[in-house]
């Protein structure tokens, strides 16, 4: 029985190691709790959500060109400019885009919406394209209580040889939060 004490001691130590291995989680958590070494961050926050409002009204619509001859080029609308009035209650910065949503149609006759152009600066004309959104105004500040008008001028060209008729086209004005 020589060395019996050492064998018992070794067995005890092995069992102790096994116990630690099995119950490691409560043991570790216990250490963490005692030492308070977890990462804590305590920030007092007060949040408030301000509701967003946007409104727009179109003036000088529909856009009128009167009677034109085929082959007419760059004829300005007689009720230019179309005014997009942004309501005074609008409290977000905004973008305005324009999109041609149909070609010009008169019965079974048509011509492309790309014959219509717009500008907002009086110098650079932009052609409409069917179902393509084009920027008119970008990142404008909120009106701050007083309505503001954004102007859009239009001009049209009628293809040479176009069949006579009253043609109508459609466009979409989108006012979006910037």
């Amino acid at each position: 029985m020589k060395g019996g004490k050492e064998i018992y001691f070794s067995l005890f130590v092995f069992l102790l190691a096994l116990t630690f291995a099995i119950f490691r989680e409560p043991f570790t958590a216990g250490i963490v709790r005692i030492t308070g070494l977890t990462q804590w961050s305590s920030v007092a926050e007060a949040t408030v959500t301000v509701l967003e409002y946007i409104s727009a009204t179109l003036f000088n619509v529909p856009i009128q060109f009167g009677d034109l001859n085929p082959g007419t080029s760059g004829q300005l609308a007689i009720n230019n400019p179309m005014q997009i009035q942004i309501g005074g209650e609008t409290n977000v910065p905004y973008n305005i885009t324009l999109e041609g949503t149909s070609n010009f149609v008169s019965g079974s006759y048509t011509f492309s919406i790309s014959n219509l152009e717009f500008n907002t600066t009086t110098t650079q004309w932009t052609q409409y394209e069917l179902n393509v959104e084009k920027d008119a105004y970008t990142n404008l500040p909120p009106p701050g209580g007083t309505p503001v008008n954004q102007s859009v001028w239009h001009r049209i060209s009628v293809p040479a040889g176009q069949v006579a008729g009253t043609y109508v086209g459609n466009l979409m004005v989108r006012v979006k939060k910037a």
Partner: protein, 230 residues
């Protein structure tokens, strides 16, 4: 002679007055609030969002058609539903597809005591007034098999049109509402994480186990060495 000058003077004044009046004969538009919304929902839950639409500045009714796009195919119900409505105009009867029509209404100082279903009075953001609005309700059903942590976006669009008479180009107006839905766990839980503890505490169990094993091995080696001479 005097009468002639008087008549001419009145005509001149009237002409100036007419010329200085704005020529904005027709107007069409509407407003919307809110413009964005966020919701957390558990799988199987319904998310209900109310959108207020109003018409404060037009000189006529604005007809609203609602549509939406989304990055996910969840079931969405829009109330009121789109339907064909016929209107009698001077030019004849016209039928239009719409969810609702907004009459031009100015803001009011007080909310009425009885507010009909589908109507809301929203606080004017810059004046001490209330804006009469009509409400659109979106109900989004989160499927029961939706995964926790998923995030999906819905873009609701309101297209406003008015009967503006004849013209070469008829414009419509569009405003939008962006909705984000996060799928969350049904139960709230808060677990303590130990990632912030130093490495020797994070791995304390391993260190202690290893130390005990080393002690055990060393004890065995010593024991063996003691046994060899005998």
């Amino acid at each position: 002679m005097r009468k002639k000058y008087l008549t001419l003077g009145i005509l001149a004044i009237l002409t100036i007055f007419i010329r200085t009046q704005p020529i904005y004969a027709q107007s069409c538009g509407f407003g919307a609030t809110p413009l964005s919304a966020r919701a957390s929902a558990i799988p199987g839950q319904k998310v209900v969002v109310t959108w207020n639409l109003y018409n404060m500045y037009s000189d006529r009714k604005t007809h609203i058609l609602i549509n939406y796009t989304s990055d996910v195919g969840w079931k969405v119900t829009i109330e009121p539903q789109a339907r064909n409505v016929s209107y009698e105009l001077p030019a004849g009867i016209v039928t239009i597809l719409e969810n609702l029509a907004l009459d031009p209404l100015p803001p009011v100082q007080y909310k009425p005591e009885v507010i009909p279903y589908g109507v809301n009075y929203v606080k004017h953001p810059t004046a001490d007034l209330y804006i009469p609005a009509k409400t659109v309700t979106f109900t989004i059903e989160v499927p029961t098999d939706a995964k926790i942590g998923e995030r999906h976006t819905f873009h609701f669009k309101a297209k406003g049109e008015c009967f503006l008479g004849t013209g070469a180009v008829i414009p419509a107006l569009e405003l939008g509402l962006d909705l984000t839905i996060d799928v969350v766990s049904p139960e709230f839980y808060e677990r303590e994480l130990i990632s912030g503890a130093p490495w020797y505490l994070q791995y304390a169990w391993a260190i202690v186990t290893a130390a005990l094993l080393v002690i055990a091995v060393v004890t065995l080696i010593i024991l063996r060495r003691r046994r060899i001479p005998t």
